[in-house]
């Protein structure tokens, strides 16, 4: 009897371990979804009651126990826009430089290490840094400008990294094909490589928006107002913001119990904004994938 004759027993054993492993994988992934649904369901059932047109369009009243969250919604949108204006161009251009121009240089390696480290820095440290640099040293004060720049710094590593990875995923043969036709490097990047990488870059940008809109610590010392029931007039004004508002009415509001409903409502609005942004990302991704005729 050779070892090969005993295979039926081995077959049974390997099928069993495969079954166990796959069942485990399946259970784990289901439980992730279950937790997500649980959180969403919890927030939704608790928060849906306070959501109405008035809640979305009026300022907080009576010590933030009544009224709406309109200034905080606008504040968050303004901060997202402001930080994007700062981080997207800088991040995308740095990503292009690192992948297309300075691939193996020491400088690129250095920038890469720095951005990786930057993405590991806790967000509250960004907040402190933003306060020191933008609020105090540069004299912007607590303002949309200071908050946007701080949030922009926070999302910069993510933008750079996704840009670089998206470009890296494009096969070198496309670059060769373009250069061999007498195109310059810039033309190659602009007309061939960027359009191909764009759907993935967009995804990275949107993810960074998701992160920025939910951050509390970086805006704490740089822009967020505890209570400011009017809209900003310039980039040097303070604003309320959803995550900070949520934090305030859950921990240090005038009457935490009375604000509980509003807190869940605020959380729901925040989640909804992130969800809408993600759906938009998917839509844009498909849109741009179709524009570069991949098939």
């Amino acid at each position: 009897m050779t070892p090969l004759d005993k295979t039926s027993k081995i077959d049974k054993r390997k099928r069993r371990s495969q079954f166990i492993a796959f069942t485990l994988f399946k259970l784990m992934s289901y439980s992730v979804v279950a937790m997500l649904i649980l959180i969403l369901g919890f927030i939704t059932t608790k928060g849906i009651g306070v959501i109405n047109w008035e809640f979305l369009t009026t300022a907080p009243q009576e010590g933030m126990t009544k009224g709406g969250i309109y200034p905080a919604i606008i504040g968050t949108l303004v901060l997202v826009l402001g930080s994007s204006l700062f981080s997207f161009p800088i991040g995308i251009m740095s990503g292009i430089y690192m992948n297309e121009y300075a691939t193996n240089s020491k400088l690129a390696a250095f920038i890469r290490v720095m951005t990786n480290n930057l993405s590991g820095v806790p967000s509250v440290v960004f907040g402190l840094f933003g306060m020191a640099l933008f609020v105090n040293t540069m004299g912007f004060g607590d303002s949309i400008l200071a908050g946007s720049l701080t949030l922009g710094l926070l999302s910069l590593p993510l933008v750079i990294r996704t840009t670089e990875e998206s470009l890296k995923a494009i096969d070198f043969s496309f670059r060769e094909g373009s250069l061999a036709l007498g195109a310059t490097k810039l033309q190659t990047i602009r007309k061939v490589i960027l359009p191909m990488a764009f759907p993935n870059i967009i995804t990275g940008l949107i993810l960074s928006i998701g992160r920025v809109s939910g951050e509390t610590a970086p805006i704490l010392f740089t822009v967020a107002a505890y209570f400011l029931p009017k809209l900003p007039h310039s980039i040097f004004d303070q604003v309320m913001a959803l995550p900070y508002h949520l934090y305030v009415i859950s921990t240090s509001g005038t009457d935490i119990e009375a604000s509980r409903g509003i807190a869940y409502g605020t959380a729901l609005v925040l989640i909804a904004i992130v969800l809408i942004v993600n759906l938009l990302a998917n839509f844009l991704r498909t849109f741009f994938s179709k524009r570069v005729k991949m098939n």
Partner: protein, 250 residues
């Protein structure tokens, strides 16, 4: 008339001496095949002719290469202009993710041509030269990725022809294709030599003997023998060549 004149070319990838003192001349409107076992330097030499090796870090070249009498490694040479003159077709078809039309128009557009009627005319001419027009004339607005591998490769040939190069370099253009597509490419090469000088790298001995006027045999970075194709395949002067073409190694 000489289209390509390489003199004493040495080439290094970092420390690796990939080409050793290569001198070779190519006449106008001829097809020259580069053969030799993998790693012998034939593709490296091909890529020297349109300075594609510039894209690889840590490479170094000495010697000179003249294309139509001009030193292409002279300091004042603009690489993009050189590549307009010396087109290239790669081993794996690499059409852009654009429409068939835009794939061909690309080379014209990046070289500053905006005249749409001229572009349309060039697209049609190039596709006809690459024997692809009849297959794609009704779907010029479709993605190039929808074409078969063989069609994609002919599209890449058409793309190279659109900017009217003097020399067309082909790096194993049929190695990723089925026999029917390969036959089409070979027929095409035969047609194209009326208007272009063609240099083709191939692993396929029959292909070299079918399409080329002259054949260069490379081995371990050296040019072992360079002569008329019929002579190389019937009466090679060097034993190494003899061994390679009869399939004793390689």
């Amino acid at each position: 008339m000489l289209t390509v004149e390489a003199k004493n070319v040495d080439f290094y990838y970092s420390d690796f001496h990939a080409l050793k003192n290569i001198s070779l001349e190519v006449e106008k409107n001829k097809v020259v095949a580069f053969i030799g076992p993998s790693g012998c330097g034939k593709s490296t030499f091909l890529r020297i002719l349109n300075r594609m090796n510039d894209l690889i870090d840590g490479t170094r070249m000495t010697g000179s290469v003249l294309i139509e009498g001009e030193d292409i490694y002279a300091p004042n040479v603009r690489v993009d202009e050189l590549r307009k003159k010396v087109g290239m077709v790669f081993q794996k078809p690499n059409p852009f993710p654009k429409t068939i039309f835009e794939n061909i128009a690309y080379g014209l557009r990046v070289n500053g041509i905006k005249d749409n009627s001229f572009i349309e005319q060039r697209v049609e001419e190039s596709l006809k030269s690459a024997a692809l027009w009849d297959e794609v004339k009704d779907k010029l607005k479709k993605s190039a990725f929808a074409l078969s591998g063989g069609q994609q490769q002919r599209l890449c040939i058409a793309r190279a022809l659109a900017i009217s190069p003097k020399v067309v370099l082909m790096d194993e253009p049929a190695s990723a294709l089925d026999p029917i597509s390969t036959a089409k490419i070979e027929e095409l090469i035969y047609e194209l030599k009326k208007d272009y000088t063609i240099i083709i790298v191939t692993h396929n001995m029959q292909q070299a003997s079918r399409v080329s006027d002259k054949t260069a045999y490379f081995y371990l970075g050296e040019l072992i023998e360079y002569d008329d194709t019929t002579k190389i395949f019937t009466n090679p002067q060097k034993e190494s060549t003899q061994n390679y073409i009869t399939g004793r190694f390689g």
